[in-house]
Symmetry: C2
Amino acid sequence: MPRRALLRFASAEQAQTAFYQAFEQADALAMMQVWAEDEEVICVHPGAERLVGTAQVRESWRQMFEAGPKLHFELAQVHTLAGRTSTVYNLCERIRVDGDLRVHAVLATNVFLLTPGGWRMVMHHASPLPRGSEGSDSITGTVH
Amino acid sequence: MPRRALLRFASAEQAQTAFYQAFEQADALAMMQVWAEDEEVICVHPGAERLVGTAQVRESWRQMFEAGPKLHFELAQVHTLAGRTSTVYNLCERIRVDGDLRVHAVLATNVFLLTPGGWRMVMHHASPLPRGSEGSDSITGTVH
């Protein structure tokens, strides 16, 4: 497999944009360039168990992207807690599955840290939003 | 209502301890001393809508504590991302409802910032853990 140039994100916002691009493109290599290489990174997909450490997180994206289908994201109601070396986003993901017009609403907390290698994701905690709440006209809950 | 001395937390850990004490004691005044006074604070109870800003957050705790019942917390598998002015905890809450031996498992991301008034909570994002995962011997999901 060809080795890609290592990306370096100059801001948490750039890193978060790359996270959702990798998610939409189902690109596991690009996804793992967003994450910090650390035994303490944490990833919680909606309704699923907590994954801890780079190895578990990498494997979860690999499996998800292999299984398909492709997802399309619209981000809404983004709240930002920005510090000098850390940024926390809390936002609503409006998700459409390829070939399906329904929208699934998920609430995500994304945490980014400024590392020696630029801004990297260290936590993604996603959970389904209840029916009829913000961000969705048709909510079924457990997609991504 | 008697006015209490304003608490000042010297660390994120102290503030988080006070958060769970106020939760167990169903003490809305003590709970709101843990939170930053800010229009950007965010609170997500498991399976519920996102609450934004001090007024919404205060009202949610008031209603929850008035409705009862009392809850007992055991915290497990605490992961910490600590910075100079912000700390993020991700942990498993094992919750028992007063008079009930079952344990409900909830995953929480708690974010604390160092403010001019000491360490304060700015985000609580809680979601149910799936049955049979870490932190619980009998998981039903949607308590607190």
